[in-house]
Symmetry: C2
Subunit: 228 residues, 2 copies
């Protein structure tokens, strides 16, 4: 079980002693996440969210103009967490070369997608979201992109990427990481003979392949079975 269901940014006091809820907006967001952890996000209904939150089926529409807006609010939280994960990953890799720090972004991406499957689902399936999403959403997403491109520029200056167009190398990295996370999320792993519980190690190996890190002969591929 991911920790997604625990509320975070808001206080989430679902005390419904009074007629007015007090903090229904945040409670609805958290409740939606709770449901996405159990059933596919496209099957989450506003009515079910309202019921679980203990309000009438019309109440959510006082806080969100429509279902997509609710999902978009969830996506905003998701993107915030991704940005945090990326920042923490970059801090850990501060001493490494720019190419490896670029890789650290990819690792953070995969780690985030795996540990927050509910968040990832709602972000990756944009049909659930408002057509032009929120400004905050776009900003965070683009900040991560910009950092990646900056790092690749540094790498090229240091001669780490001879003859490579960084614009497309960046896009390739993004597509790689996004594609892998989505394959995991969509349950494609089984048809590739992959063990879902080893997704972290698989992610590392895939990045090794992308960055052409030579196979380490004594690499321990056992790994812990699961931690949840």
């Amino acid at each position: 079980m991911p920790i997604s269901t625990k509320s975070r940014p808001g206080k989430t006091r679902p005390s419904k002693d009074t007629y007015h809820h007090g903090n229904l907006r945040q409670v609805l967001i958290d409740t939606t996440l709770q449901l996405i952890a159990k059933i596919r996000p496209e099957n989450v209904t506003v009515r079910a969210v309202a019921k679980l939150a203990g309000v009438s089926s019309g109440a959510p529409f006082r806080h969100f103009p429509n279902r997509s807006a609710l999902m978009t609010a969830v996506a905003e939280e998701a993107m915030l967490r991704l940005q945090e994960e990326v920042a923490s990953s970059l801090k850990k890799a501060a001493d490494k070369n720019p190419l490896m720090r670029f890789r650290a972004i990819g690792e953070a991406w995969i780690r985030w997608a795996v540990r927050n499957p509910s968040h990832f689902k709602v972000i990756s399936d944009r049909s659930l979201l408002d057509s032009d999403a929120s400004a905050a959403w776009r900003k965070r997403s683009q900040a991560i992109q910009a950092e990646g491109i900056r790092l690749l520029g540094e790498a090229q200056e240091q001669g780490l990427l001879p003859g490579v167009e960084i614009r497309y190398f960046h896009l390739a990295g993004r597509a790689l990481v996004y594609g892998l996370a989505r394959m995991y999320s969509d349950g494609h792993f089984a048809s590739f003979g992959l063990d879902e519980s080893r997704v972290d190690q698989i992610g590392e190996s895939v990045l090794d392949a992308f960055f052409r890190v030579p196979v380490r002969p004594t690499k321990n591929h056992v790994g812990k079975p699961k931690d949840h």
Copy 2:
């Protein structure tokens, strides 16, 4: 406009002069594709398909047990086309080395996804499909996988992939291509500053980056504006 809407495998004679339709099953599949070309597949309703095909809203359920089964039938056609595209791509690359033939599979994948967006959409969003899809579907998919791994094995024997684990190199290639196609399909290109009409050339450049093909100095990046 993609050619997806043109019927192919069936004769598709939607003549509804008689009470009985004659070939409703195939007509429904083609009609579904027509609709997916216009609206998101998750918004395609059975009722709308039935109406467009000129039958009652209950008629489709004589041919498909549920909506997912209809979508799965569309996906089967899609996978058939993908396999054809891969086969043709491999035939053209017959004289090249195994690594470049592996790349040719990826090129076919992207080309297929771009030219048959309706098909791609229905295949990539597995939540629309029956949980365990069809046997034919899985078989075709796995045949393509097997060919890719075989080619990488050959490449390694010829020393073209020193120190790379082919299992993960294969997975990386698949994730790369799938991720790029999905980014295109989901409209992520705009937020990456990419021109959707140049997707073919972008795909080539991304594969260049993945395979570390050096930048060709005189590469003409102008290209035609659009052909549709």
